[in-house]
Symmetry: C2
């Protein structure tokens, strides 16, 4: 399509609305608006027009303004509530200092379309050259109650300090990278992003969800909002959840039961391991004989563990490292005296074990020495000494509930 | 200094060694090597030479090779063990496909300096143009046992997916950004980086540590290694910990006691809150009367909390939101029916409360609605229903142990 044809035929352009669903109330909380252009009798996407760097930004602004105007009028006419997500690339926003968009929105606010229903989606990566200007413009929009979403997070836009600086309301994750990326890589990235979002108070929105697995993945990683063909296709009118064929409530109920089940199974493992340690607890004769104690328990964790040691509550390792070599356990006495209190959660965890007198299973993390994913089961031998049992990746891998 | 003078007078160049200390054994685990140039009777830093983009990369390679050679010979002559950290910018590494460096290192391996003692520090941000080539080259170096550190993380190089792709052994954090950045911002970034590092098995190294507060900050954020003038200045010979005036063991012991103290105080808060809820537990008459129950307890948490609600173990909110307005608590009945099971740790936490029948205090996070930092205290009313008490930031702020 010739960009001139498009700009010269604004009457052939219509907005379509793609529903966005909420994990909280399972309803449609808003729509992303996209543009369609009528050629002959077909409505075509204008994606290529907007992504073409040779199309002048002013053209894009003109088309976007037209689409936004039609979209808001449609929503006002339909009494349709909820949010309106609009896409703006960074360069486009900066045309005329972003005032065109602001003026249009203020005009509609007078007609009853509140600014806090607008979410502007931007890609920070677009803006390598002049990130500070983008940041200031978005701050200006925010003062009107407009929300900001950072788009394509996890693919290009995963810069921790930039995301922190923008303080967006929403991080949009492109679910299709689950398909293109190696699974472990994406899991690590998602874990980090979900911790970042939690910490800075940004909601996650997974888009391009195309099947049940992806919806489950999004839910499991803390996604508050969902979007994609699996949930609903774009249509010429905004919708509510009653018109969706996809029953997201049932899906999410299923995920909750599945997750509870996994947690229950994991809890049973912890109980079993606690029992094993309790059964030999009488053999603990103080830190100086810590190696002898571990010797008495290696057999019990031969299948599960590859490394064991005992620490004092202040972090100091009081035993050798016991490291499994195929069938035997080798001692690394030089590890005695190491201090592990600097590690994230170490002191918090030993204090909790001391208080509750129960064992504790860590989350998944990568062992610095072996670079393999591990979990650590720990147990209070006394209120001053704690046994650490590092679990083999191959063992975790064989039990879904330990990997989840 | 004229770059030509420098390259023409390689005999005036000497390496200096800056010690890097370990949180684990409190000893010197290695040194970063830096270059000094003798002008008249003063030894000058070559920082400006290396950072000048107009100096040809070939010049920098030549000087770096000379410095590295002298450094390794010094270490071999002194029988000094430990790691050797070397800086290479990305462009420089790519000269001649990085083979100059590799050949030099292999030459010294034959003389007994093992490749696994070398850590190459790179800045991923330098390499926007050709990140894939850098990534491949580093992978090649790794196959020889050479370690990789990503430098300047937290400032420029905080791209989650790039760091994940490089799988570095070490993330180097420039501590000086504590001074230039807003505190909250830096805390959020550090939290995210430390979670990322934990997950991918990278060790944190805080550099440019200049005072006690910065050392404490580094330790508290899980830093395994430390470097900076506060610990030791660079010197012409590699050193061991016996020659350092700074007693890092004593410092770290102090941090551990301080941290344990804070955790103890925090634990006492939790105990106190548990007691308050237990004292009214008899008023719980099931989910249908959840609002009446909360009404009976708002007074008790008037100072601490700004929001309270009750959820079923499956995530469903069975009460209104109670929200404090100055002196009264307002009800938001429309929140009943919300499902919070998608939130990170929700199901894990309720299952744990059910199993142990104790309350639980969450970590610090940003509330999505208020954007303020909060913690949530939760308590099992029965094995199916849980009370959530969101704590006000101002209250946390008044109690250091709740902020830490």
């Amino acid at each position: 399509m010739d960009p001139l044809d498009i700009v010269g035929n604004l009457h052939k352009i219509k907005p379509v609305f793609q529903p966005i669903l909420s994990a909280i109330n399972h309803g449609v909380i808003g729509h992303e608006v996209l543009a369609r252009y009528k050629q002959d009798d077909t409505w075509l996407s204008l994606g290529s027009f907007f992504h073409d760097p040779d199309v002048p930004e002013e053209f894009k602004v003109e088309v976007d303004q037209q689409v936004l105007q039609l979209a808001i009028e449609e929503m006002l006419a339909n009494n349709s509530d909820g949010m309106l997500f609009i896409n703006r690339n960074a360069k486009q926003l900066m045309v005329n200092n972003g005032e065109d968009l602001m003026q249009l929105l203020l005009q509609y606010e007078e007609k009853g379309f509140h600014l806090n229903r607008i979410v502007i989606e931007v890609t920070e990566h677009d803006f390598d050259e002049d990130f500070e200007s983008l940041s200031h413009l978005l701050l200006y929009y925010k003062t009107f109650g407009i929300q900001i979403a950072v788009d394509h997070v996890g693919a290009k836009s995963s810069n921790i300090d930039r995301i922190r600086q923008l303080e967006p309301h929403i991080l949009k994750i492109d679910t299709s990278i689950i398909r293109t990326q190696n699974g472990d890589v994406f899991q690590d990235i998602m874990y980090s992003l979900s911790m970042l979002a939690h910490r800075i108070g940004a909601a996650l929105l997974f888009e391009n969800i195309e099947d049940d697995f992806q919806l489950y993945f999004a839910w499991k990683h803390g996604s508050r909002y969902y979007q994609g063909f699996y949930l609903a296709h774009p249509s010429f009118q905004p919708v509510d959840h009653t018109s969706l064929s996809m029953k997201i409530s049932e899906k999410i109920s299923g995920y909750i039961q599945r997750e509870k089940n996994l947690l229950e199974q994991r809890h049973n493992f912890v109980k079993k391991w606690e029992q094993k340690v309790r059964s030999v607890l009488s053999k603990w004769e103080g830190p100086k004989k810590a190696d002898i104690f571990i010797q008495s328990i290696t057999e019990q964790f031969h299948e599960e563990s590859f490394r064991m040691f005992v620490c004092h509550i202040d972090g100091q390792q009081v035993s050798s490292n016991f490291r499994k070599k195929t069938d035997t356990w080798e001692l690394e006495p030089h590890k005695r005296g190491s201090n592990w209190a600097f590690r994230p959660y170490f002191l918090e965890n030993v204090m909790q074990m001391k208080a509750l007198n129960t064992g504790l299973l860590s989350g998944l993390y990568s062992d610095i020495e072996t670079k393999e994913m591990v979990r650590t089961f720990s147990f209070p031998l006394t209120d001053q000494h704690f046994l650490f049992i590092d679990l083999r990746y191959a063992y975790l891998y064989d039990h879904e509930c330990l990997l989840a």
